[in-house]
């Protein structure tokens, strides 16, 4: 942990957060948020929390940005005009007061890695010393998450799956959500292309290799789709972000 590097990273983090709030273009805001997550991941890695850093980098800087962009494409790209000044006069002092309260409270926290901190005096010592003998797992974080505290992890997993199901319930307005492989006689090539071998679109790609092998598809797809996809791209270049 290098203090100067941490300060620089933290300043960049603050700058991306403030800019993400300021910009009117939501696509730029999403990019800034992804950058924010990346610098947050670097800060986590700086304090040796590599597991958290990995999740933050994968989820925050990766997939969340894609999901946000998909949401923007489904709605609107510009954010509304800023609200009137009077609201800002109320909100800004509240934010300042909250930050001041948090900073004041943080002075009472024990130092990082302090052996006499309350968090180190309870059951965590047992976890740290016995984890390898109990579970044969060198990574204590994994044995904590998936063994000692696996009920927490079960709850988190339920939350994630429930969130996805709720998103499907809210967003799938009139179409059905396919939950099982379906064979149907529809001729829409974009829908369940794998289950419909007689797709009408001229597709040498799916016709040449019927397996679901990613490597095989990579080699066949790179040279072939020029003609159909250039035509496809020519029809709607303005619809891409």
């Amino acid at each position: 942990m290098i203090v100067a590097l941490d300060v620089i990273l933290f300043l960049i983090l603050l700058a991306t957060a403030v800019l993400a709030l300021q910009v009117k273009d939501l696509l730029a805001a999403v990019s800034l948020l992804a950058g924010y997550s990346l610098f947050a991941a670097l800060l986590f890695a700086g304090v040796s929390a590599v597991d958290v850093a990995l999740v933050e980098a994968a989820l925050g800087a990766g997939v969340t940005g894609v999901l946000f962009i998909a949401a923007i494409l489904a709605t609107a790209r510009r954010s509304d005009a800023p609200s009137d000044r009077r609201r800002r006069l109320i909100v800004l002092p509240l934010i300042v007061a909250f930050v001041a309260l948090m900073l004041f409270a943080s002075t009472g926290l024990p130092d990082r890695g302090d052996p006499d901190a309350p968090a180190q005096l309870g059951v965590s010592q047992t976890y740290l010393t016995d984890s390898l003998a109990d579970t044969e797992t060198p990574n204590v974080v994994t044995s904590l998450l998936a063994d000692y505290r696996s009920l927490d992890t079960l709850g988190e997993t339920m939350v994630i799956v429930t969130a996805a199901l709720s998103a499907a319930l809210v967003l799938a307005r009139r179409g059905e959500i396919p939950v099982w492989p379906q064979r149907r006689g529809g001729t829409d090539p974009g829908d369940d292309g794998g289950t419909d071998p007689a797709a009408p679109a001229g597709t040498p790609v799916t016709g040449s290799s019927g397996t679901a092998d990613p490597g095989g598809h990579v080699t066949t797809s790179s040279p072939t789709p020029d003609a159909p996809t250039e035509a496809h791209g020519g029809t709607d270049p303005e619809e891409r972000p």
């Binding site: 999740v55 894609v66 044995s143 063994d147 799956v161 829409d188 794998g194 789709p225 020519g234």
Partner: protein, 148 residues
């Protein structure tokens, strides 16, 4: 507005087609290697989902949706959560508490080894659930009216 489908630039298409299998494989490595290094089911599942979403963003739809069809998301999400719950219920069959894998006795295996295996199965379950959830959220966000 379209998000899925073939991207107009051939450079982007080829790069993403080459990268996405390796991203997914890195995710599988993170899931399997959670005992010894950073990561586990959560981060690994997100990486595998990224490897499945990237083709949808850049490759022709008939190709990307045959690699990972739409039903994969809900199905793996449910299967992963079910796997986790079943592993949690297994110790209850022998009279131990919920999620106490070490109580299950497997012949020729120490209790710590059984817990090691329990952790592995839990990580795989979490990875499947997270992968399915991410793919499902992406699929319903990009669902168009003419799709279903």
């Amino acid at each position: 507005m379209m998000m899925t489908g073939a991207y107009p630039s051939v450079v982007v298409r080829v790069t993403c087609a080459l990268l996405s299998p390796f991203i997914a494989m890195f995710g599988l490595y993170i899931i399997a290697h959670g005992h010894y290094g950073p990561g586990g089911g959560f981060a690994g599942g997100v990486f595998v989902a990224a490897g499945a979403i990237l083709p949808r963003l850049t490759l022709p739809e008939e190709l990307s949706y045959s690699l990972f069809p739409r039903w994969i998301g809900p199905a793996t999400g449910g299967v992963g959560l079910l796997l986790f719950l079943l592993v949690g219920l297994a110790p209850m069959l022998v009279g131990a508490e919920f999620l106490d894998y070490g109580a299950v006795e497997i012949a020729g295996m120490a209790a710590s080894r059984v817990r090691y295996l329990g952790i592995l199965v839990v990580e795989v379950g979490v990875g499947l659930a997270v992968f399915g959830a991410m793919l499902m959220i992406f699929d319903v966000l990009t669902l168009r009216d003419d799709d279903a």
